[in-house]
């Protein structure tokens, strides 16, 4: 069995913490790449020093570098590079600067890891998925964005906290773009399979849905000078594990839809099965009229971002 390799482009808080979570799974060699080479190398060496205590000492390697060539032949490349969102800053403000950063990463992937599955994490997420897809020219299923798993893990936590039950008993489904217009689906959010609509009143659910929508902003508001990274990194690690181990995890991710959900040619959060090839399948659910309207509104916001991108972006 040849060894799996995962590269993470961008060794900030999200990239480094994702590296740490993936290392703990002991499923792949890891490479962190960042333009700030010394810091990245330091983080990799620091992780290795923790290995004997954490149980991944000699079984995997962890490299930190500023040399993109080191991602050679990765099975999965995660793009986390980008400017973080500052308090009060809209996701769209980040568009121009991050499109350039993601494009550079995507070009490096084409050159050095042409068979990789690409997991996009940089914000604004759905738009950066378009940047990655266009700049790599990869098959649609090999570019996937991390959003729905993060939004649903937050929703799951809020539900479990409210009911005082185990996190492991709660599952949640959040569709749509990774923004304020995401579409949490309470009827598909369950405790042991029982929809929360049978366990909580409508007002409580509405509060939890609202908190989920603003989950990223809540952390930004608390931190003042930074944004969330533990839950995003955990979500990345979950996706990477699913791809590397071909776990076939059914979860919401940003995937390129062509007619599914009545939406054409757009990255948007939908339930997918994640496996060795990336997006193995998009699951199309029957939605109520209200849910459809919310999803269309969310898609409209993403499409607007794509149009803004189109005003300046050249893929190569």
């Amino acid at each position: 069995m040849s060894k799996n390799k995962v590269s993470i482009i961008g060794a900030g808080n999200v990239g480094a913490t994702a590296t740490y979570y993936i290392a703990e799974k002991v499923i792949a060699d890891l490479v962190m790449v960042d333009v700030v080479g010394g810091m990245t190398q330091a983080k990799a060496v620091d992780f290795l020093h923790a290995g004997p205590l954490r149980g991944y000492d000699v079984s995997i390697s962890i490299v930190g570098t500023d040399d993109f060539a080191q991602i050679a032949d990765s099975n999965v490349v995660v793009i986390t590079a980008g400017m973080p969102r500052k308090p009060g800053m809209d996701r769209m403000d980040l568009l121009k600067v991050n499109a350039g950063i993601v494009k550079q990463a995507a070009r490096a992937i084409v050159e050095h890891a042409p068979n990789a599955v690409v997991v996009v994490v940089s914000n604004p997420l759905d738009i950066m998925c378009h940047v990655a897809l266009r700049s790599t020219g990869f098959a649609l299923r090999r570019v996937v964005g991390m959003a729905g798993i993060l939004d649903s893990t937050r929703f799951r936590y809020f539900v479990a906290e409210k009911l005082g039950c185990a996190l492991s008993s709660v599952h949640a489904m959040v569709l749509g773009g990774h923004g304020d217009q995401m579409v949490p689906l309470p009827r598909l959010t369950t405790v042991g399979g029982v929809p929360i609509t049978e366990l909580m009143d409508a007002a409580t659910i509405a509060r939890l849905v609202d908190r989920t929508r603003k989950g990223g902003a809540e952390i930004v508001g608390l931190l003042k000078t930074g944004s969330a990274y533990y839950a995003p990194a955990a979500s990345v690690a979950d996706m990477v594990e699913s791809i590397i181990t071909d776990r076939k995890h059914l979860a919401p991710c940003a995937a390129y839809v062509r007619g599914e959900y009545g939406i054409d040619d757009l990255f948007i959060g939908v339930p997918v099965i994640l496996g060795r090839n990336g997006v193995e399948r998009i699951i199309e659910l029957g939605l109520s009229d209200d849910e459809k309207a919310l999803l269309q509104a969310s898609a409209g916001a993403v499409r607007q971002g794509v149009e803004e991108l189109n005003t300046f972006f050249k893929p190569t």
Partner: protein, 310 residues
């Protein structure tokens, strides 16, 4: 570290100890009246520890008195159902041993939570609770959880998806008359019926319902035990870590789901005090009727046993 005692070191008891050790949640004492068997299996398990990385201690003993002060006692000492046996027949085989163990628990570990893995689950769970005279929420039978893990597996296999996100609740007796709550059989919240179609889901439910017999037929001389052990270990983890996981267990009801004075499978939140609460769901008309019939048959079996003084 919490102390778990497992009474009976056959396949069920030993593998439950093994699963608990792998989750690193508690120290385990295996007790068996057969001289040396529990000690031998415990030593074998401990010698696997350095390779498997568990830090828990597993001991074996022939003395029931060693369970003194246990936080949880798991009863895994019974004989399997033989082909053609009704639950009353299995009860007559297993009740004397289980009653005697319950009396030992009352004497030695009166504060312990008790998990029953001996068939017939519901009738013996009630017998244990009555013998102990304990708070009904401290005695739990592994029933629905075992079938739940089976339907979750079958659905994940049929769909080619990971089983971790598959849910499914079962209510009613641990018996072919058990009731699968179809709407709770879901993948990441999505109803399995919309992914599989009603007919395929029906087939899988029937497969799960008869899974115990299927395994018995395949393995010939040994009945299923890994899934039961996994279910017991999952209960231990929920108790030790006080997770309040929602799990289907057999517990004595006093009005819940319209049942009084019988232990029967219901969804319950499991934590450090045992059943932290029973989740009472509104059942659909067909499920309600099936549940009531199954509960009535369980009541009849119970009354027969009482009448014959078994």
């Amino acid at each position: 570290m919490k102390r778990i005692s497992i009474i009976g070191s056959g396949n069920v008891g030993t593998n439950t100890a093994f699963f608990i050790a792998e989750t690193r949640t508690a120290d385990v004492l295996l007790v068996d009246i057969k001289d040396g068997v529990a000690a031998g299996k415990a030593l074998d398990l401990m010698e696997a520890g350095p390779v498997r990385g568990y830090a828990t201690a597993i001991r074996g003993s022939v003395r029931i008195d060693d369970i003194e002060g246990s936080d949880v006692v798991i009863i895994a000492a019974g004989v399997n159902r033989k082909p053609g046996q009704q639950r009353e027949d299995v009860y007559r085989d297993n009740a004397p041993t289980v009653r005697s163990i319950a009396n030992d628990i009352k004497r030695l570990a009166p504060g312990a939570l008790v998990i029953n893995i001996v068939e017939p689950i519901d009738l013996l769970t009630l017998l244990i609770q009555e013998t102990l005279g304990a708070d009904r929420f401290r005695v739990m039978g592994v029933g629905g959880l075992l079938t739940s893990t089976r339907i979750r597996y079958l659905v994940s296999k049929a769909l080619g998806v990971s089983p971790r996100e598959v849910t499914g609740l079962i209510v009613g007796p641990h018996h072919p008359s058990m009731v699968f709550l179809r709407d709770t059989i879901r993948v990441s919240g999505i109803p399995a019926e919309t992914l599989l179609g009603a007919q395929r889901l029906d087939q899988l439910i029937e497969e799960a319902r008869t899974a115990g017999d299927t395994i018995l037929q395949l393995a010939k001389r040994s009945s299923a035990f890994y899934a039961s052990c996994a279910a017991a270990a999952a209960l231990v983890e929920a108790i030790v870590c006080d997770t309040k996981a929602l799990l289907p267990v057999s517990v004595r009801c006093e009005g819940e789901y319209g049942v009084k004075g019988l232990a029967i499978g219901v969804p319950a939140y499991i934590g450090e005090k045992g059943v932290a609460g029973i989740l009472e769901l509104k059942l659909g008309a067909a499920d309600r009727a099936a549940f009531d019939n199954a509960a009535a048959a369980l009541r009849t079996a119970h009354d027969n046993i009482v009448a014959t003084g078994a």
